[in-house]
């Protein structure tokens, strides 16, 4: 990935990025380039034929040829043009455009999917975060992989046009070369000089335009000004779009109307005066536009002038003047725009580079090959041995020298304050992260040595922030397209959704929410929890964990869910996390976490009897109100 979009990079790197980008497209659809090129060749040939045949017609008209003689070129022109256009349209509609569309969708979707495919630990890593920020920037003012199609096709069609025009223009080029007229050479030399000058000017204007457009505003303006005039318009739009309107209540009740105005349109308008962006960008892009317009029409003019001079000098018949003018214009334009196109292609490639780098991010965790023994008796023993762990990019230990043995078939509750490492321990247990120090053992073997997919099969977790998808209920429970209907219904019933399931006319095929299906059902927070619990039961894993998915419920409902869940899991090993000590009272094994360490473990009575212990403190904080 290049450092930024505007700095100069060696050609070798440029070519590498272009190769990567085109390589991705080729990999996604291996016939796109072939068919798109074929279509562009047809277009170019058609344009050349029209030029040649219409010149013939014009020529014959000048000669005063009879109607019959004109018939042949007219027919040839009409028919060849029709057939070539039809063939081109066929290729475009049948192949090129559907392929473009699918490649574009695949590219976007590959990127999104990567978040679910890479190691979980990478998601929060500084590297991936930085890459993600960068991708977001690279995608501003660009059309993603779509720009690649456009630029590729521009260049190919430019080359085809250049070749065809050269073939058409050979006679006049010969004449010019052999005319030996000093004035002519002088004129041509002058033209070349003007064109060279213009091309330079366009390139320069383009560089200035891109530099300004693509540079981070943080770099463009002094920091304090940038902060002062920062506008949050997009921040709020995004929040409103995602349905987060809660801030509006605060605005009303705290009279924040002026504040909101200040940090949105107010700053945008004021900022425009102090650190103008729109007018500067308008000026830069206006200059570029002017020069492009001027050079484009100058080529046309040059084409006309050159062929007019030669025609007047009698170098070729009058009828050919348009043909030669057209082909000369095309050649000049083609040469001049090729540089611009190539520049755009390489810019697109540099923009896409960050996304492709993300797609290629490789996993960081060691993945062992050892199969996990399938045991019908669920005799799995897990031990944390002197485990220390820090989250990526953090200085602080979330767990420090942590040791714990899980007893098979028993219930354990984990209690502790916010940030004491409860959820971290679960994440390590499920191998979402690897500890920096110490080891976690499954039946005495380091869990890193097992096959990841088989190891994860041992666990069912209902996280605090679990997610359900807007897809059929049954698939949500099975977390798969294949649903064992009997089993799915059974676990839903166990989770307490039996009645609701009966009401649904489409049963397990009912969509949740209405994100993609208008007929989807809205479910309450409580129902969502029950579905998440059913999902955990469906998996039928030997370890089940509840990580306080019930914070927003009243204490009674929470207790019911916890104890009900406990009855459902049977002889499996279960671990419960809750802030409310009352929810875990059916566990006779309670682990108390504090600042990343296991500070106490035992039954409620044992723990409570230690009046200096953390458990006593937590317990007292809640119990004081009931005494």
């Amino acid at each position: 990935m290049p450092d930024d979009l505007t700095s100069k990079i060696p050609w070798k790197d440029n070519i590498k990025y272009i190769k990567n980008m085109l390589g991705y497209i080729q990999k996604t659809d291996n016939t796109y380039f072939l068919l798109a090129t074929l279509r562009l060749v047809l277009d170019a040939v058609e344009a050349a034929l029209v030029l040649v045949f219409s010149a013939d017609i014009l020529e014959l008209l000048y000669e005063g040829a009879p109607m019959e003689a004109l018939g042949k070129p007219v027919l040839l022109l009409l028919i060849s043009s029709f057939l070539l256009s039809a063939a081109s349209s066929f290729l475009k509609n049948e192949f090129v455009e559907p392929k473009q569309s699918l490649i574009w969708l695949t590219y976007d979707s590959d990127f999104a999917a990567k978040f679910q495919q890479m190691d979980y630990s990478l998601l929060e890593s500084p590297y991936v975060k930085k890459l993600n920020d960068r991708i977001w920037k690279d995608n501003s003012w660009g059309a993603g992989i779509g720009s690649a199609f456009w630029n590729f096709e521009f260049i190919v069609s430019g080359i085809c046009q250049l070749i065809c025009s050269l073939m058409v223009a050979i006679p006049i080029l010969k004449i010019i070369a052999m005319s030996r007229n000093p004035w002519m050479y002088l004129g041509l030399g002058g033209l070349v000089a003007v064109l060279w000058f213009l091309t330079k000017a366009v390139t320069k204007a383009n560089a200035a335009y891109e530099e300004r457009l693509l540079k981070d505003p943080e770099e463009l303006y002094p920091e304090e000004l940038y902060r002062k005039y920062y506008s949050f318009c997009w921040h709020w739009t995004r929040r409103c779009l995602s349905g987060d309107y809660h801030f509006i209540k605060d605005i009303h009740l705290y009279d924040g109307y002026d504040l909101m105005e200040h940090y949105t349109v107010g700053n945008m308008r004021e900022g425009e005066k102090v650190i103008p962006w729109t007018s500067v960008m308008g000026k830069l892009s206006g200059r570029l536009g002017f020069l492009q317009g001027a050079s484009g029409s100058l080529m046309t003019l040059a084409g006309y002038l050159i062929s007019a001079v030669y025609a007047m000098l009698g170098a070729f018949p009058v009828g050919n003047v348009i043909k030669f003018a057209g082909s000369i214009t095309n050649i000049l334009n083609g040469i001049q725009s090729m540089g611009y196109r190539l520049n755009n292609l390489s810019l697109t490639a540099r923009r896409v580079a960050s996304t492709l780098e993300m797609l290629n991010v490789s996993d960081e965790m060691y993945k062992g090959k050892l199969p996990v023994e399938k045991r019908l008796d669920n005799q799995y023993e897990i031990e944390f041995r002197h485990v220390s762990f820090r989250y990526p990019g953090s200085e602080q230990y979330a767990l420090k020298d942590f040791s714990l043995k899980l007893r098979i078939g028993e219930r354990m509750a984990i209690v502790g304050m916010n940030g004491s490492g409860k959820t971290t321990m679960i994440k390590l247990l499920c191998r979402l992260y690897d500890p920096q120090e110490g080891e976690i053992l499954l039946n005495g073997v380091d869990i890193r040595k097992f096959r990841q997919d088989e190891y994860v099969r041992l666990f069912s977790v209902v996280f605090q922030d679990f997610k359900l998808l807007s897809m059929p209920l049954g698939e949500n429970v099975a977390a798969s397209v294949e649903v064992d209907e009997g089993k799915a219904k059974e676990v839903l019933r166990q989770a307490g959704l039996g009645e609701r399931l009966e009401e649904l006319s489409q049963g397990l095929d009912t969509y949740l929410y209405q994100d993609i299906a208008d007929g989807g059902i809205e479910i309450s927070g409580g129902e969502a929890q029950k579905i998440a619990i059913a999902r955990a039961l469906y998996k039928d894993a030997p370890f089940v964990l509840l990580d306080e998915p019930t914070a927003s419920l009243d204490p009674l409902s929470e207790y019911e869910i916890y104890s009900g869940f406990d009855a459902m899991v049977g002889d499996k090993t279960a671990i419960y996390i809750s802030h409310r000590l009352s929810s875990c009272r059916f566990c006779d094994d309670i682990a108390v976490f504090h600042e990343g360490r296991l500070v106490q473990r035992g039954s409620h009575e044992e723990l409570l009897s230690d009046e200096k212990g953390k458990y006593h403190e937590l317990w007292q904080a809640q119990a004081q109100y009931y005494q």
Binding site: I57, S109, Q116, C233, L259, V265, T300, Y304, A308, L432
Partner: protein, 674 residues
């Protein structure tokens, strides 16, 4: 600023012109549609303004913001009419000069005509490039105004089901980078004008040759129009299917990018499921694309046939006329160009117009949103309203969310996307003839299970909702007649989902513009809320931006600190009535207990209302209201309610048993409540 956020921007304008066809294709498929996730049955609910009036609306807003853009618009419109005309005349001029004029005179004429084209082309291209950036900033400003409107309009519109859909569509229509509706409403009308004017211009040129030629061409155009209509109908027919496909694909992308789901995906090996779903969606999409493109090919073919006929006829007639000596060879070129150009204008007119009509539906939503009535500021405010401590009375209040309003948005766990429900079934009354008096200075605790209507009561009291029947009185003043801004002024509220704004600390406390916060008072509020030390230690000042939404060094607060911060905000405002809506649900026992203590301290001397799940909080209150199904089921002090032995006592006992009784009894309690 924040201008770089325009996503999916097309390449520089130059290319867009050249690739107009492709862009149009994406207009239909890629960009507009993902947002238009709507079933046809609901279209009737959407507001609709006449197209012309909407165009005027957008132009007026743009010119108010950037008057100079009017000049650029004039240049490009005029230039775009002129340029093709020069383009068609040019070959004729060259040809006639070459065959008839002298060398220098001829070259001079060509250079003159070409020079005119050069200047026109340069100016048009310059103006186009400039317009793009002004319209881009205009779009950002418009989006900002839309958000502002939403904060200023009557709160009920924020939660109204129908209005929510309209507003949502308004926002969505402004997304999609260069395919946002504002560009369409500004650019397409000009393009339409160019083509209509050119159409008449060419008609008159051809009319000089033979009036019947124009008639004939018009006839051919009519056939062309028929083909285009068919094409549009076909596209329209597939529009909903494309919209649905986009909706599904976008949803999947959004879901997969959601890192909150990442844990579940790995634990439940959901990737295969997601990829299988994607495969299904893409397979369907490809079929849809092919179906659409085959129709496009059919219309292309028809149009090619039509132009074959037209060109054949043009050649035959013009050659005949030329051979007859009616026209010169140079004129032959001009007329031929005009005839072929003619059909292009018809195509453009039909395409642009039908595109505009589609965009008008979106534009109408945006405009409807922008014209929502705002909260009132005018009106008389009775002195009595501000007496402290305040007395509150609900007199015979009835309230329902009605058919259009959605149920109280509860904190939904496990929600996958960010969409809201749009349930339209009739909701039962939340409150019916509800009566309640809160005495001046009284501390009232509001209890009840989830969904008992506690938050609704708070919203009614603050004036965010309005009762269907009955009155709410503060110090004897009916709040229905009080301007909202004056009413809101009375309360210090901490909502369940309070927001920390991505603004500086000072602004976050006072919700005033920068420089308008009384810093001393702000620090005092932080001190009282127990945050001053933390802030000083971390070097956080009144100017430090909060949250990491925009600046990487933004201040982040933990759950407990955020609660204290909201408390400080309420303290800074120093409202007459203090309302706390379940502020501690995500806190650990110790943090929770500390926050309670703070609340008790600051509620002294004020009328205050606590909402909490935690029964323990009620011990601080003068009176406890136990709500069930919109009625006060039990009320009294803790002791009274315990003596009553009703629902409250039952709940309290079950909870307290764990904390007070021995192990044996715990188990008994556990069994009891399963």
């Amino acid at each position: 600023m924040g201008k770089k956020e325009t996503k999916e921007t097309k390449p520089h304008l130059k290319e867009t012109k050249l690739y107009l066809k492709e862009i149009k294709l994406y207009l239909f498929k890629k960009s507009k549609e993902p947002n238009r996730a709507k079933s046809p049955g609901k279209t009737g609910d959407m507001p609709s303004y006449p197209l012309l009036s909407n165009i005027r609306y957008y132009y007026r807003l743009l010119y108010r913001e950037f008057p100079r853009v009017a000049i650029y618009h004039a240049i490009t419109t005029f230039g775009r009419i002129l340029l093709p005309f020069i383009g068609i005349l040019m070959p004729g001029i060259v040809l006639s000069q070459v065959s008839e004029g002298g060398l220098f005179q001829g070259l001079a004429v060509i250079a003159l005509a070409g020079g005119a084209a050069l200047i026109a082309e340069s100016l048009v291209s310059q103006a186009d490039s400039k317009i793009y950036f002004y319209e881009n900033t205009f779009r950002n400003i418009l989006l900002g105004e839309a958000v502002l409107k939403q904060t200023k309009c009557l709160y009920k519109y924020v939660e109204y089901g129908d209005q929510k859909r309209i507003t949502r569509r308004a926002y969505q229509s402004m997304q999609g980078g260069d395919w946002a509706v504002s560009y369409k409403m500004l650019d397409d009308p000009r393009w339409l004008l160019v083509n209509v004017v050119s159409f008449f211009l060419y008609s008159s040129v051809l009319g000089t040759l033979k009036p019947w030629l124009v008639a004939l061409l018009l006839g051919l155009s009519l056939v062309n129009y028929g083909i285009l209509r068919m094409k549009n109908r076909w596209q329209l027919a597939l529009r909903d299917e494309f919209a649905q496909s986009d909706r599904e694909i976008h949803y999947l992308n959004r879901a997969m990018k959601d890192t909150a789901m990442a844990k579940d995906v790995r634990i439940f090996a959901m990737n295969d499921w997601l990829m299988a779903f994607r495969g299904k969606l893409f397979g369907h999409r490809l079929k849809l694309e092919k179906r659409n493109q085959r129709r496009m090919f059919a219309t292309d073919l028809l149009q090619l046939l039509l132009s074959l006929c037209r060109n054949g006829f043009a050649y035959a007639y013009l050659i005949y006329a030329c051979l007859q000596g009616d026209i010169s060879a140079a004129e032959f070129l001009v007329y031929f160009g005009a005839i072929t150009g003619f059909s292009g204008f018809v195509t453009n007119i039909v395409d642009t117009y039908s595109g505009l009509k589609l965009a008008n539906a979106d534009a109408s939503c945006m405009r409807f949103h922008m014209e929502l009535p705002e909260i009132g500021e005018e009106g008389e405010v009775p002195e009595a309203l501000y007496q402290t401590p305040a007395e509150i009375e609900f007199r015979d209040v009835s309230f329902s969310y009605g058919e259009k309003m959605e149920e109280e948005p509860s904190a939904e766990e496990g929600r996958s996307g960010g969409e809201e429900s749009s349930t339209e079934e009739k909701r039962p009354k939340v409150y019916e003839h509800f009566n309640l008096v809160i005495r001046p200075g009284e501390k009232v605790a509001l209890l009840g299970i989830n969904g008992a209507g506690k938050t609704t009561l708070v919203k009614l009291l603050c004036g965010l909702y309005e009762p269907d029947e009955g009155q709410i009185l503060i110090n004897g003043v009916d709040i229905a007649g009080v301007p909202k801004r004056a009413l809101y002024d009375l309360f210090s509220v901490v909502f369940q989902e309070a927001t920390i704004f991505p603004y500086p600390v000072g602004c976050n406390l006072s919700l005033r513009k920068p420089g308008e916060t009384d810093e001393e008072r702000a620090w005092a509020a932080l001190r009282e809320a127990g945050l001053e030390e933390t802030f000083r230690e971390r070097g956080i000042g009144m100017d430090s931006f909060m949250t990491k939404a925009s600046f990487k060094d933004g201040v982040e607060l933990s759950g407990g600190q955020a609660q204290r911060f909201f408390l400080a905000r309420a303290l800074y405002k120093d409202g007459n009535i203090l309302i706390l809506d379940e502020p501690t649900s995500a806190l650990d026992p110790i943090a929770e207990s500390e926050i309670y203590e703070e609340y008790v301290k600051i509620s002294r001397g004020r009328t205050s209302l606590f909402i909490s799940h935690r029964l323990a909080s009620t011990k601080f209150s003068d009176r406890i209201l136990f709500l069930e199904d919109g009625r006060i089921k039990e009320e009294g002090t803790h002791e009274e309610l315990m003596a009553l032995g009703g629902s409250y006592a039952h709940m309290f006992e079950i909870q307290s048993r764990y904390y007070t009784a021995s192990g044996e009894e715990q188990n008994a309690a556990a069994q009891m409540s399963i």
